[in-house]
Symmetry: C2
Amino acid sequence: MMSNPFLSGDPGIRPRRPMMALVLANTMLSTVPGISGAGPTPEATLLTPVLDAELVTTGAITSVPARPNTPTGCPTPAAITRSMVELTGLVPIHINAGLAHSPTVPCLDVYGSPGGDPREGDAVPQATRLFERGEMAGRLLSQQSDLLMLGECVPGGTTTALCVLRALGYEASVSSAFARNPLDLKGAICREVLARIDEIGAEEPLDILRAAGDPMIPVAAGIASTYSGDLILAGGTQMLAVAAVLKALGRRVPPLATTVYIRDDPTAGFARSIAGIGTTAYYVDPDFAGIGHAGLARYCTGEVKEGTGAGGALMLARLMGYEPEDIARKVFDFVMRYD
Amino acid sequence: MMSNPFLSGDPGIRPRRPMMALVLANTMLSTVPGISGAGPTPEATLLTPVLDAELVTTGAITSVPARPNTPTGCPTPAAITRSMVELTGLVPIHINAGLAHSPTVPCLDVYGSPGGDPREGDAVPQATRLFERGEMAGRLLSQQSDLLMLGECVPGGTTTALCVLRALGYEASVSSAFARNPLDLKGAICREVLARIDEIGAEEPLDILRAAGDPMIPVAAGIASTYSGDLILAGGTQMLAVAAVLKALGRRVPPLATTVYIRDDPTAGFARSIAGIGTTAYYVDPDFAGIGHAGLARYCTGEVKEGTGAGGALMLARLMGYEPEDIARKVFDFVMRYD
């Protein structure tokens, strides 16, 4: 059998001044038991973006006693993103779209608030303002780079993404960091939220985000609207929601970059959604099955899969000229520190 | 009589990827009546950095009914900085070191707090942490630029700068935005603060900042410590304090860029302080007397003088290749909008 290529296609981008940015946000949905695997307890998922930013920026989590492994012992996607920082020397800029806890590293802040539970009321009352602040941030980032790999970290964000995609008319399903995707729970929440969207009559994309999104989606969409260079949305189903919003707004719809573990998740129907939105996706195959690390191998059997721009960070390293074997070795070396 | 040159000297820098950053902070000293001219009332000075950032980023102040003129009718330094944004197309990145009000534009935030009144207790309890966050920010900004023009906006900041400079052993005086510098008031506050510094035995630079500084100083010093390209401190006596802290820490001491109105302020003794710290300064002479605008002309007779990196913004435009006459015309055109 031929092995898969490291990258499913060549975007033809050879960046001179690449930049990576990660949009951080919270949604109160992550505190609903069973929704998010991105933390040791539902309440603790609120801290995850802050710890991810700390790991990606400094190489270690020192503000609290925590290791960059999931509750089930897999290396977190942020660890993969950090390993690429150490390979390429390029540190992502973190964008605070609305967090429950104060970051421990500098972030480009748009002064939002954490997203609420969309079953209880408007989840992102400031959605329009956040979109505009994202547009401002996109102009700023345009000045200093010619390629922006734009990722996210939003625990519980696949559920808000599901609500937004369905409200925009897509028959989407979504992925999950759990090996067994809690589709029943997500589906039940989504039905309740869609009923509320119907009730209040939200139809415009920013009205849908206000009702049912999380702060990351309008900020990322705003950035993508004004960024002047090449832009790639780094992520799975959450970035699908950003792409769908951009399409509904009549803006440029960028391609996505994610791992083959997202593409191959039978519950998510990712490739079908990509086609439905009319964009393209680049899939990175870091061959975690063959890398010699049990926790990474479990990505291949359906755990974690993606997050914190990990797929995009791997792709960016490749676009910057690093060889697949060097990329794999760096991931392995980094995660072994926390084994 | 020969007219002065636009720039007092040539630093020999021809930036390919220039960047300008403005560190914003508050000190509660600006609410002491008579200390700061940077706002219509002492309490309103707390909002000035937010409004300056809004003007510099968007070209207008829309979040509150306010015009970019001082209470006495001079164009604010932020208006000059903005005019250079429109000339060069380069928008500064704002850095939130600790503000009382939430910014209306995206800022790189280090998650500090406004500085307290140093007569009443430690003014910046988190000084060491802010210095470290500044170091992180300096590394981030290094990735995307080869020249950093680093300015500030801190109402009341000349008084904290005076305290810090004197505590570090300099016989400094400071400048003021008022035509008549309230030296008696500043001197009285400073004596009180120095007595407290003696009492608690603060001698190390970061201990002095904790006791008597404002959040801008440790953040700017941290950035200057790690920034890898050419760095110029854009400002007057407040940036002197940053330079003095860097010298005391044994770090690289960058040159300063400011207006001739700061150099020529007889109460400030600026050139003497520059020599005392052992650095150099570039002085910009935008010939505001000859530009044909009464409010700008008053800069020459001792009002406003500098702020929000205005001198540095003018110098940066020159380094980017713009001619003095085009720079002057742009300043004039911009301030005429608000006449």
